[in-house]
């Protein structure tokens, strides 16, 4: 029996705990904005808690991979984690198909994150609004539908038209401004 237990215990070595990050040290990013194809600017917004302003972080790189390597960024003593991203805001001059597939291959981002468009730029939108996370949650509750990363990838691969909600900033809040297709 110990010959069975020993290798099973050895599998614990493969869990990757050596690189674990403590939850108390992490700030979960809820909204991730991406602008540009090269250079790429990524803007992360964490939901504010108990009246605190939303925590923001920005990173830039020559391409998506370079900008991504800057994560976890540090902001106010926390490290930002992308495992909780619910809203991917795609800004200006972005190769949508390339971004969608890079995001799908990302080990932290999930395939269920929804895709939104910010024609005037994700960075400017997320900086102009007080609590983008709450605003986007409200839009989703009001029935504004946005495709998930998986649905977006399926549509782009299948040559279908992808319809995404367009966003704009108004009086410090995120508002829907019609819909944008990928064509």
């Amino acid at each position: 029996m110990k010959r069975v237990i020993a290798p099973m215990l050895a599998l614990l070595l493969l869990t990757g705990c050596a690189a674990a990050r403590e939850p108390d040290d992490l700030a979960l990013v809820r909204v991730l904005g991406v602008d540009g194809t090269g250079p790429v600017v990524m803007t992360a917004v964490c939901g504010g808690e108990d009246g605190e302003n939303a925590l923001r972080g920005t990173a830039a790189g020559e391409d998506y991979a370079a900008a991504r390597r800057s994560v976890p960024w540090s902001g106010k003593g926390w490290k930002l984690s992308l495992t909780g991203v619910n809203y991917l805001v795609v800004g200006r001059d972005v190769d949508l198909a390339a971004l969608i597939f890079l995001a799908l291959e990302d080990p932290e981002l999930g395939a269920s994150a929804t895709v939104w468009r910010a024609p005037d730029g994700a960075l400017s939108l997320l900086r102009a609004c007080d609590d983008p996370t709450a605003d986007l949650e409200l839009l989703a509750l009001e029935g504004v539908t946005a495709p998930t990363l998986a649905q977006a990838a399926a549509a782009l691969s299948g040559g279908e038209t992808l319809s995404m909600p367009a966003l704009r900033a108004e009086n410090g809040c995120v508002r829907e401004d019609g819909r944008i297709g990928n064509r």
Partner: protein, 315 residues
């Protein structure tokens, strides 16, 4: 004792369970990359061929001599190459979350576990696979139920794609069954009917996994590196399950490599085979060999065995 015989007799159920657990590893790798309908057809063909082979080899043996020695050597080498391919695939999947630089470390850990398993007697290894089968049965059932509930059927139908890629994938899925030949040699109880059912179940599971992956990701499945595990993140509404699926699928991955590394026999031979497979995986050699080449190699081994077999029970 050469590569084509082992010291222990095992039950037909143990052999079949090992083939199913091991086959789940390439099945997950192929899910979303090949058409599920072609997998179903190739399953039918593979199960039929397996049944006929078992019927043919009943009452036959491969006489000792140069032919048997050569066949055993080729059998072992083919298994080591296929195991290297499986190890590289597993390490690549795990290193995506742990960072590219850790691939060598992961290969070392995987080979360490496999060396230990290889040192075990055949009975211990196959008893372990029976335990792993229970865990995988629950995992596969969960994946199938929740995956089918969330499948978008417009992605799944109509069926397209080529039959050859599905054939090559089916060859890798059913390859572990070929590596049970040394053990079946010593099996007196006919296992034909039982094996056919288990192999058919394996093929059915592979087809369902592919169907679910395509149903969740659409055409994008073919453009991702790990489509099945990416689709795993969509199974639950409020939880990310792709990491858990990837961890649970270590069981079939280790069974796949462990079974193939026993091509030269157990004990020290299996340990050396594992280390060679790990080295080939690290160097990237096995990944450069295409899957159809592996499938052709398996076919050559089968034909060689058919040609060398003679009537009688042998030694």
């Amino acid at each position: 004792m050469d590569a084509l015989e082992t010291g222990e007799r095992l039950s037909g159920r143990q052999l079949s369970v090992a083939a199913v657990v091991a086959g789940l590893s390439p099945a997950a790798a192929a899910a979303g990359r090949v058409e599920w309908a072609w997998l179903v057809l190739w399953t039918g063909a593979s199960v039929s061929v397996s049944w006929l082979l078992l019927r043919f080899f009943a009452g036959r043996h491969i006489p000792r001599g140069r032919g048997r020695a050569a066949l055993g050597t080729l059998f072992g080498l083919w298994g080591v190459l296929l195991a290297a391919r499986g190890l590289a695939r597993t390490a690549s999947r795990l290193s995506q979350t742990a960072g590219e630089a850790s691939k060598g470390w992961l290969l070392l850990l995987l080979c360490g576990v496999l060396v230990y398993l290889g040192w075990c007697g055949d009975g211990a290894f196959f008893r372990l696979t029976e335990i792993l089968w229970l865990a995988m049965a629950v995992t596969v059932a969960f994946t199938a139920v929740f995956g089918l509930a969330r499948t978008e059927w417009r992605h799944v139908l109509p069926v397209g794609g080529g039959w050859l890629p599905a054939g090559a994938a089916a060859a890798e899925i059913f390859a572990p069954a070929l590596f049970l030949l040394p053990y079946i040699y010593k099996e007196r109880t006919p296992v034909r009917g039982q094996s056919a059912v288990w192999l058919a179940a394996l093929g059915g599971v592979a087809a369902v996994l592919s169907l679910v992956t395509v149903g969740l990701l659409g055409c994008a499945a073919g453009e991702l590196s790990q489509p099945f595990f990416t689709a795993g993140g969509l199974l639950a509404r409020n939880a990310r399950l792709e990491g858990l699926l990837s961890a649970l699928w270590l069981a079939p991955d280790l069974t796949f490599a462990g079974l193939l590394c026993r091509g030269f026999g157990g004990g020290k031979r299996a340990a050396v085979s594992t280390l060679v497979a790990g080295t080939l995986a690290f160097s990237g050699v096995a990944e450069k060999i295409s899957l159809p080449v592996f499938a052709a190699g398996g076919a050559v081994l089968l034909v060689a065995a058919l040609c060398l077999a003679r009537r009688g029970e042998g030694e």
